[in-house]
């Protein structure tokens, strides 16, 4: 159960629905039993309602806003075209495509979703193909691996091929035991 001094800083997030579901339930539970925090919440909600009175005070841009802006922008673009050599502009374009390709995976837009989905599918198909190849075309598939773990003296990984039914392999060969 949360205490009052833990709940009060969360009330603002509670109003904006930014809390996790668990925390939301905890705050709700506390509010049911605490009139002081409920009053605080009512005050904050009231302030929020008052602020939202100004929400319909909407302004629009003037008619020539876009035209003026585009005129300024086209001057900048023209200057850039005249001053920057063709090779640099080409490199810039290639860089842009590279950046777009690199980051489009991070964004949750439609394009990246298609990319992600197709790459995942391709990856899965490759994985299944490799697995089936390796299981069908291995002649000595009865051999199994035994990976010998690192010890104090041996600091590399050693892979040995042993028969699975050979239990006392090390003692027969008079090799030192790794347990000691």
């Amino acid at each position: 159960m949360l205490k009052c001094d833990q709940v009060k800083p969360l009330l603002s997030e509670y109003i904006d629905r930014e809390l996790t579901l668990w925390k939301m339930q905890m705050v709700r539970l506390h509010l049911k039993s605490c009139p002081d925090c409920s009053r605080e919440l009512a005050l904050l909600r009231d302030t929020d309602k008052l602020l939202k009175l100004r929400k319909n005070e909407v302004v629009v841009t003037s008619n020539h806003f876009t035209e003026v802006l585009l005129a300024k922008v086209s001057i900048i673009a023209r200057n850039e075209q005249n001053n920057v050599p063709f090779s640099q502009r080409l490199i810039g374009k290639i860089k842009t495509y590279a950046v777009w390709f690199k980051y489009s995976f991070d964004l949750k837009n439609h394009l990246s979703f298609v990319w992600k989905a197709s790459f995942t599918l391709l990856f899965l198909i490759t994985l299944i193909g490799l697995f089936s190849l390796s299981s069908f075309h291995r002649p000595d598939y009865e051999k199994k691996y035994e990976i010998v773990k690192k010890t104090k003296t041996v600091n590399f990984i050693k892979v040995e091929f042993v028969k699975p039914d050979t239990q006392n392999y090390r003692s027969k060969k008079n090799l030192p035991s790794f347990d000691s």
Binding site: P9, A42, L51, T61, L69, L70, Q81, S104
Partner: protein
Amino acid sequence: VRVSDEELMMRCRNGDISAFELLVSRYKEPIINFINHSIGDYHRSEDLAQETFLRVFKNSSRYTPKSYFKNWLYKIAANLCKNEIRDRNRHGLTSLDTLTMNEEDETPIASVLLSDHSQMPDFLYEKKEQQRLIKQAIDKLPETQRLAIIMVTYQNLRYDEISYALNCSLSAVKSLIYRARQNLRNLLIDLGVRESYNAKM
């Protein structure tokens, strides 16, 4: 299919002005409203909105689609607003909307000139007056608190988007908004806005 803002921005990087125009048409209204709520001066807001989009075009080569375009745009607009608020505080500038005729009569000049309150029904006048007081209270907040509360209330931005736009941590945004609401509540009670009184009772 709606082309994403990030893709348009990438085209913009390559000097495609029509892509830029589409971005402007998508975001000019939210941006001018955000700036207008922050500084409360329509004509200056339009200038700053233009400046915001110009900076977007000039710095398009620096934009990487690591973050959403919308957040990046709000970051630029918020920086311009911060500078404007600082300038106004330094030079003691006030917008025409908040100017008062004299100390006793607190009716703003602009609203007196533009509208005749004697013809206005009481509830409308009361509402207008309440909105003016709310604006006055918001203007008294420190700049980051002001921007954060405007973003969350009028622009419906999420806390993580605000943290990117204001260049601070998520926990800082949480405390900014909480403190802004507390300060506003006290300011509104001091200004005598009715609903706050009711809540206090």
